[in-house]
């Protein structure tokens, strides 16, 4: 029980990685030794941690990609490896359903709960309340830390088999549906941004960027470089250098 609590705390601290500058304390190579310390075998903790680190090497959040939950997987994988005395692989098989459960909960947080909290931040912006925006921002993060604490705590306490039963009882339509929704949601963010940035004059460039990416798979860095060329083709910076703004005015005034 005490061990389960402490392991939960490790998961909590691991998630605080994102509060302290994405400094990689959430990785199994760091959390493994901590788990080892709690369970009384530091050396084994370090060794299992590194095995899981290498297994999870590709699982890092890049862009909008959210990996299976490395924190829960790492902490419980190491913990089961030490308590069962089995290798990291067998232990990880035990930890995997729990990591999946954590990922499913992450998905609910990222696609439903947190966007709603984002609306709350908008409301405080409307009131000019700077402190409250930061409070919502930090609260949102700590909420997830707490959820991870609970998953890890119950995961270690109940064991992999019990969790598997819980995972199996979630209708697949719901998890699948939320993962579909999570693929669409960035479009909403872009639509909101585009409504501020776009005006009639620059709409074609939205499609240019989209088509370059869609047909030619050019990464965004390349699109920005081509964008700079487009700017120079479109706008003549060499003339009118000394004329006033009024003389060339009206360039940007037909927003819709």
């Amino acid at each position: 029980m005490l061990q389960a609590l402490l392991l939960g705390c490790i998961a909590f601290i691991g998630k605080c990685d994102l509060a302290t500058g994405t400094n990689m304390i959430q990785r199994p190579i760091v959390l493994g030794p901590l788990v080892g310390l709690v369970l009384g075998d530091l050396k084994l903790g370090v060794q299992i941690g590194v095995i899981l680190e290498l297994a999870f090497l590709g699982q890092v959040s890049v862009g909008a990609y959210i990996p299976p939950n490395v924190i829960v997987g790492g902490v419980l994988g190491t913990a089961f490896a030490i308590t069962t005395g089995g290798g990291a692989e067998i232990a990880f098989t035990m930890a995997f359903p729990i990591a999946l459960l954590a990922q499913a909960i992450d998905n609910v947080m990222f696609s439903v709960v947190r966007p709603m909290l984002g609306r709350l931040a908008d409301k405080y912006a409307d009131q000019g309340n700077v402190k409250a925006i930061t409070a919502v921002h930090m609260g949102t993060g700590f909420l997830t830390c707490t959820v991870l604490f609970l998953i890890t705590f119950f995961g270690f306490w109940l064991g992999g088999a019990q969790i598997q039963a819980i995972v199996d009882s979630i209708p697949p339509g719901i998890t699948k549906g939320l993962s579909i929704a999570s693929g669409m949601l960035p479009a909403l963010g872009f639509a909101m941004l585009a409504r501020m940035v776009m005006n009639k004059q620059v709409v074609p460039f939205f499609f240019l960027g989209f088509l370059l990416s869609a047909y030619f798979s050019i990464p965004v860095v390349g699109i920005a470089c081509l964008g700079i060329i487009a700017v120079f083709l479109k706008i003549d910076f060499t003339t009118n250098n000394n004329t006033s703004i009024e003389a060339e005015g009206g360039v940007d005034d037909d927003d819709f």
Binding site: V62, H137, G189, V197, V202, G209
Partner: protein
């Protein structure tokens, strides 16, 4: 060199101390990440103290500034301070310049976030992290606690230095160039250019980061064809474009974003149930 309590630029209010503060406030950048607007709260929170100072005499403008900086933002978190610095420089310009089009602030942010993420991810997460794992892992495999410690140091020392330098340089660059642009009368052209670049990058990111896939097929058995394959043959990412267009229109019609969020979740579940999307 100015002392840390003096404004860095004439007519400005942002001091070195403010930028240091922004550096510290940038640490939880990813803490409240979500699919829809991603790091928007982190970004707004990072620069909010600076905004408060810039707009200390105008509460209405402060509200607007907070709202526009709560729009979509995503970047490699360790270099977020660079965009933060540039944004503060532009907000400062906005106070002193009646003609400044505030939409160009978001254009510049959009134009920067995509490319900088591409570069930042490959340098920090792709290279530096792998290097740190490589060195840390060989020690850790023998059960040596120095392994994890080295891992953290190799990754974090450069990452933190970079984050700090980006905060200072971002503001400096932004302020210096904006001043030059303004004094040479190119501000209108600059804002138009930012609009083009920002819009184009948003277009690219829409294809890259939005994913919608049809799971339906035509015909059955061996002759079955996935509709998605047909769509990809016409225009890859077509559905992402459609979804973005629908959101855009609905936002134009002033539909509450809360309903759009709930609707998206329900639509996802329904489409999964009937195997329409996958």
């Amino acid at each position: 060199m100015t002392t840390s309590n003096q404004p860095i630029k004439e007519n400005g209010v942002i001091t070195k101390k403010d930028l240091k503060r922004m550096f510290w406030r940038s640490l939880p950048m990813e803490f409240s990440w979500h699919y829809e607007r991603q790091m928007h709260m982190g970004f707004c929170s990072m620069i909010s103290k600076g905004l408060e100072k810039i707009y200390k005499n105008d509460k209405e403008k402060l509200k607007e500034a907070l709202k526009r900086n709560l729009e979509f933002f995503n970047i490699t978190p360790h270099i977020s301070t660079f965009v933060g610095g540039i944004t503060l420089a532009m907000e400062e310009m906005n106070v002193n310049n009646e003609d400044f089009d505030t939409n160009s602030i978001n254009s510049v942010k959009a134009a920067l976030m995509g490319p900088l993420s591409g570069i930042g991810d490959s340098i920090l997460l792709g290279t530096l992290r792998i290097l740190a794992v490589g060195i840390g892992a060989s020690l850790a495999a023998q059960g040596n606690v120095l392994g994890p410690i080295l891992f953290l140091l190799i990754f974090n020392v450069p990452a933190f230095i970079l984050r700090y330098v980006c905060a200072m340089k971002g503001y400096e660059l932004g302020a210096t160039y904006l001043h030059k642009i303004q004094s040479s009368g190119l501000m209108q052209k600059f804002m138009y250019a930012a609009g083009i670049l920002g819009t184009m990058v948003i277009g690219g990111m829409t294809n890259e980061l939005v994913s919608v896939n049809m799971a339906l097929q035509i015909g059955s058995g061996d002759s079955a064809t996935l509709i998605q394959d047909v769509l990809d043959g016409i225009l890859p990412g077509m559905l992402a474009l459609v979804v973005m267009g629908v959101y855009y229109k609905l936002l134009d019609k002033k539909v509450n974003v809360m309903w759009l969020l709930i609707g998206t979740a329900l639509l996802g579940i329904v489409c999964a149930q009937f195997g329409i999307l996958g």
